[in-house]
Symmetry: C2
Subunit: 253 residues, 2 copies
DNA sequence: CGCCAACTTGATGGCTGTCAAGTCAGGTGG
DNA sequence: CCACCTGACTTGACAGCCATCAAGTTGGCG
């Protein structure tokens, strides 16, 4: 395998004079979203020194699986993931979609084994952060400790949001919430809030939202008829963000 | 307000010669379930010194509310709580039920404001743990740090479980899962696995499980007809634990 | 060009929500 | 002590939403 370089997937190699930039937090454009948020240059260097491994994950491959020993927290450098859990009878549920700058693997801390599968939905790159060394470092760097705790807490709050979505929202509310959430996260990464490509199938969206794929498809079609969005396969244009927000605000009963 | 003492609610004062035992982790019978797990005597004393306040919460009162500044993590010393979130239109959802030895308030770390309400479902007693001092101490005591991280991670895993429950289980599976979970948690606290009183209404159970109260009631009645449980208002006797487990194991489709 | 996975759309049925009426248990005041 | 009241719970009838089943369409890729 060739050594990974930041520009490996760019078509315009000439625009990147430093083709073999060492991937590091300090020169990562996600540092304001990811773990290093708020660290001084010196502290960031110390965090960098933990991260010995950065790995490519091909679309469809697993980053980790249920039951595997837990050792690393993973930071997504580029790409897109889903996590899912399987019931013994074969049914499975997507528990989240993760994008660049977000952390994977927090579920494994509790039992020191992973409790879900993490699958790349497109070719991706992740930083391996040895968890026990991260704990050591966060005993020394208060800012790092605080930020890590906030990330874990944010995950809990996010899960509560999904629980309310699954517990009391109707189809249209779930889909609107899903689209607005994606839009917001793309925006935070410097992409368009109104136009993006879905990385997941209708079935995966449905699994995440507690719906069947046909129901997801129908909701997209209905939103399109109403002029809220334009859908073409996985390409989404949001035409009326306030309209989507209103769907969630109005009580249907 | 009189200083709380461990025996204050006992009817048999004569059996407790030390009527004003200082409530402390080191003499708390929940220390193996709660935050101090694995600490040495010395370390436990240091944790004790953080916990200046222990407070009674009356049934129906809030421990904290959405939007309040976050300052403490709370350990339940006795009693029973629910957490819930409100949507702007008035709908609300129970996100969890907490019992003795469990922590409350982890949701607040992320934004330093609470994101849910915590309500006592019976007269309860909680230890107030100043979070920022807990962070300091966990920078010094590795065992405490590790255990706190495990508790947060466990909360994430628990939430994933609720998401699968809400996303793909039918009514009977949800109710069976709910009863088995309660049974297991009562057992861990030295109570009967098969017989207990529910602290919450049918409506609160339904809200937690994404169902209406009538649906919960009907499911209880059906389980009773099938000889799986005996229900009388809030008193539950589980007659056939394997039977309940089977409901979750068999794929209905 | 043809295949296949992903997606769309329609028809139908079942589960669970909704509405309504009635029961039960606990607490209060006469 | 009993009547009454209230909140919680149970049960039935019905309806609506979403799952299911089925058939067709689209787009990517070998």
């Amino acid at each position: 395998m060739p050594p990974p370089s930041k520009a490996a997937k760019d078509t315009s190699f000439k625009e990147t004079p430093f083709a073999v930039i060492k991937a590091a937090c300090s020169n990562c454009n996600l540092r304001e979203l990811c773990l290093p948020l708020g660290l001084s240059d010196d502290e960031m260097t110390r965090l960098d020194s933990l991260i010995s491994v950065r790995k490519r994950i091909k679309r469809g491959d697993c980053l980790y699986r249920v039951g595997e020993p837990f050792e690393y927290i993973y930071a997504i450098r580029s790409g897109f993931f889903k996590t899912d859990v399987l019931l013994e009878d074969g049914r499975d549920q997507v528990t989240g979609f993760q994008m660049a700058g977000e952390l994977l693997g927090l579920d494994g801390i509790s039992t020191e084994r992973h409790t879900c599968n993490s699958v790349a939905l497109e070719d991706s790159e992740v930083c391996h952060i040895p968890f026990f060394r991260l704990e050591s470092l966060s005993r020394e760097i208060q800012t790092l400790q605080r930020h890590f705790h906030k990330i874990m807490s944010r995950e809990i709050v996010r899960d509560h949001g999904v629980m309310t979505l699954l517990g009391m929202m109707c189809v249209e509310e779930r889909i609107a919430a899903f689209l607005l959430n994606l839009s917001q996260r793309f925006t935070a990464r410097g992409f368009s809030p109104a136009e993006f490509n879905l990385r997941m199938t209708r079935e995966e969206i449905g699994s995440y939202l507690g719906l069947k794929l046909e129901t997801v498809s129908r909701a997209f079609s209905r939103f399109q008829e109403e002029g809220l969005i334009a859908v073409q396969q996985r390409h989404i244009r949001i035409l009326d963000i306030p309209g989507l927000q209103q769907i969630m605000a109005k009580r249907n009963h």
